[in-house]
């Protein structure tokens, strides 16, 4: 049988005989203890069922995330990644092999926990929902971990295990706070409010499950895409564009019908801004990439130029497209702040410039923390000082959303952005 080689190798490494015997043995001991506790205490809620569900969440999130992360970062640490990159394996085989192979032992223990939960739970009315949430959430956490490890690999941060696993633990607790009440309270599902999406009435638990499934789908797509790039398969940024459009359309479904035209552009604009910030912080920003991009543009090699295009450009352009109609709809002000879309777009441009300025420096590892520090100064401290001194006009120079005139706010932000990008250009020229 021609088994997926990466899956087979992960099994050889992770599914040892000791684990095959050890996992059910340890779980068996724990459940024997909880069984006796249940008999002694006679609680309304089965301790065994709660423990089984808790252990499942911990195993698939914490252990599963660690396994998924190691399946990528360990390759780089042990200098075997080049061998994999040169193999004939396609990205899909690699992603499936790594994700399923490295976590199979986790799911082996997880399935035992779910079976014990099914046998021990007093309330079986929510069983399928609990299983549905638990399994999809576990898969989501593992996929996000793999995604983060591929991003870390690309950025050369190969010792990011603890950070990613820490995030997975937070995710485990978040999922736990959602699922645990379902397992203990038979009325928990019924207590949830109804929801609607583009006028389709449904339950909020179904929408939540669908949202988790969609998130899982896009995580898998993201993993496939990053693996594709690692294997040096040439790609265009259409997946990022499709993801942004999907989010806009999906989030748009939650806007009430009577306010749809009023809030749709605002929602789309907010999504594009968020995605632009997210991707500029996660993408690998190297000065040579920009040089290659400019070289290809000079050569009018548009295919290659599109391959080198930073992804933030895609969502930035999308945000700009949305900002224009939004500027004419006069969105509501938020207390003393005026929502000027073009100004906000220039904020984004300035902030991206600041981050790239630090990324192109001698210590790009510190780019994120230095950018955060700059944001604190530019968004908080400086405007705050002048506002406290009743110098609103000066404060508006730094934070133009307090200016009463849109034109003035655009000019202030335009000047700031131009300055930042001029300094960025100087630094880029020094570094290439």
């Amino acid at each position: 049988m021609n088994l997926n080689p990466e899956f087979q190798r992960q099994l050889q490494l992770e599914f040892s005989q000791a684990r095959l015997v050890g996992v059910p043995l340890i779980l068996g001991i724990i459940f024997t203890l909880t069984y006796f506790l249940d008999n002694q205490t006679h609680n309304e809620v089965s301790i065994t069922a709660q423990t089984a569900l808790g252990l499942f969440l911990l195993m698939v999130s914490f252990w599963g995330a660690r396994q998924a992360v190691d399946s990528v970062l360990e390759e780089q640490r042990s200098h075997t990644w080049d061998t994999q990159r040169l193999s004939a394996l396609d990205p899909w085989t690699m992603v499936c092999g790594k994700l399923l192979g490295s976590t199979l032992v986790v799911w082996y223990g997880g399935v035992i926990c779910l079976l014990v939960y099914g046998l021990a739970a007093d309330n079986l009315s929510n069983l399928l929902w609990v299983y549905g949430y638990a399994i999809t959430s576990g898969l989501l956490v593992q996929n996000i971990s793999l995604l983060l490890s591929l991003i870390a690999l690309r950025k050369g941060q190969i010792n990011s295990n603890s950070v990613i696993t820490g995030l997975a633990i937070i995710a485990a607790f978040t999922i736990g706070s959602w699922i645990m009440p379902l397992s203990s309270n038979p009325q928990a599902l019924q207590a949830m409010p109804d929801a609607s999406w583009y006028g389709i009435s449904t339950t909020s638990q179904f929408l939540t499950l669908m949202t988790v499934c969609w998130a899982l789908f896009w995580c898998v797509v993201g993993n496939y895409r990053l693996m594709t790039q690692e294997l040096r398969i040439r790609t265009l940024p259409w997946v990022w564009f499709a993801f942004a459009l999907f989010l806009i359309v999906y989030a748009g479904g939650f806007i009430e019908a009577q306010h749809f035209s009023e809030y749709f552009y605002t929602t789309a604009f907010a999504i594009c801004l968020t995605l632009s910030y997210l991707i500029v912080f996660t993408e690998y920003n190297e000065p040579m990439r920009i040089k290659r991009l400019l070289t290809y543009i000079t050569q009018e090699n548009w295919q290659r130029a599109a391959e080198e295009l930073p992804l933030w450009c895609v969502t930035f352009v999308l945000a700009a497209v949305v900002a224009l109609p939004l500027s004419f709809t006069h969105p509501a002000d938020i207390e003393e702040l005026h929502v000027y879309p073009i100004t906000i777009l220039l904020f984004l441009l300035r902030d991206i410039g600041i981050f790239l300025f630090f990324s192109f420096g001698k210590n790009p590892q510190r780019a994120f923390s230095l950018t955060l520090l700059s944001f604190v100064l530019l968004y908080g401290v400086l405007p705050g000082i002048f506002a406290a001194a009743d110098l609103k006009a000066v404060s508006a120079l730094f934070f133009p959303l307090v200016a009463d005139s849109m034109i003035i706010s655009i000019i202030c932000m335009g000047v700031q952005s131009a300055l930042v990008w001029y300094v960025l250009y100087q630094r880029w020229q020094e570094s290439v």
Binding site: M1, N2, P5, T80, T83, S87, R232, M288, E430, S431
Partner: protein, 306 residues
């Protein structure tokens, strides 16, 4: 087989490869030599389609490497200078994984493992954990992984570093064997004596530029040999005296006491020439063939370009 044209690769503030161009014929073993930081590893990584250059062209086996990197991966084998093995797998499992990952069908894996392990003399270690192997054996397993799919081109970055003399000798034999099987090899190394045992060509890289490409094991003009003549005492107008003898060509003289000559003919004619030299009352104390080696060729190139 391999064509590289105007290849440019840049790191921030450093041009690692500067318009590198060369051609490597099929079935050759080319030694890629140069000082540390010359760009050897970068060149090999670009050729293996692992790193993306700024511009230029690389064609391997008629595949445009920059346009179709994955197709290139099918026809090459690459060994990095910082290679790694799966320490918790046995040698057989390591080779089996790479064989399968390179598209060899499950049924053919055993034969491929057998073939490569015999060639590398590791067939008695197949069931040993890779993590317990010595440096030399690890190197052999890594080479085995690089060639298990019988690639047309093998790129090896410092393959002999850390190997003992016996292992290096076996490695040289292996490379010659691979050459016989029709593979084209490009081997980077600092150890010129080791490269000499198997290299047919030499590519000298310095500060990101190819400064020389020479054939080492090509046959020169039939019966032509370089000799060095050393005299016990200087002789006035040595060059003129030697040029008067028509069976030799004077390449150069040094201080009227030494001369480099090019001589045609076999050993009988060499003997006759020596008799002639002595008949001209030259106080000959040394008359010996010059054996040019890779080290000399490399140092000559470096001196010439300096």
């Amino acid at each position: 087989m391999i064509n590289v044209e105007q290849l440019i690769f840049e790191y921030p503030n450093l041009r690692a490869l500067d318009e590198v161009s060369f051609h490597i014929p099929q079935g050759s073993i080319t030694a890629l030599v140069g000082p540390n930081g010359a760009g050897k590893s970068t060149l090999l990584r670009c050729m293996a389609a692992l790193d993306q250059p700024m511009s230029g062209n690389i064609r391997i086996n008629d595949i445009d490497v920059l346009e179709h990197p994955r197709e290139c991966h099918r026809v090459i084998g690459y060994l990095s200078d910082f290679f790694g093995l799966y320490d918790r797998l046995t040698v057989r499992q390591c080779l089996h994984y790479v064989a399968r990952a390179q598209g060899i069908a499950e049924d053919d894996c055993a034969a491929a493992i057998d073939k490569v392990s015999s060639g590398l003399y590791i067939n008695d270690r197949l069931d040993v954990l890779a993590g317990t192997l010595s440096r030399g054996l690890r190197q052999r397993v890594a080479i085995g992984q690089a060639i298990i799919h019988s690639p047309r081109v093998v790129l090896l970055d410092e393959p002999a570093s850390g190997l003992d003399p016996e292992a290096r000798h076996e490695l040289a034999e292996l490379f010659l064997n691979l050459q016989k099987q029709g593979m084209t090899l490009l081997v980077s190394s600092h150890i010129l004596a080791e490269l000499e045992a198997y290299s047919t060509d030499m590519l000298v890289l310095r500060e990101g530029k190819i400064i020389e490409q020479v054939a080492i094991k090509t046959t020169t003009h039939a019966h032509t040999q370089d000799f060095k003549l050393t005299l016990a005492t200087p002789v006035d107008n040595l060059a003129a005296v030697l040029q008067a003898i028509d069976t030799l060509t004077v390449l150069k003289t040094e201080g009227n006491q030494a001369a480099w000559l090019q001589i045609q003919g076999d050993s009988v004619q060499h003997h006759q020439l020596l008799t002639t030299l002595l008949s001209h009352n030259l106080p000959v104390c040394e008359f010996a063939k010059i054996t040019s080696n890779l080290q000399d060729a490399y140092l000559d190139t470096i001196r010439h370009r300096a």
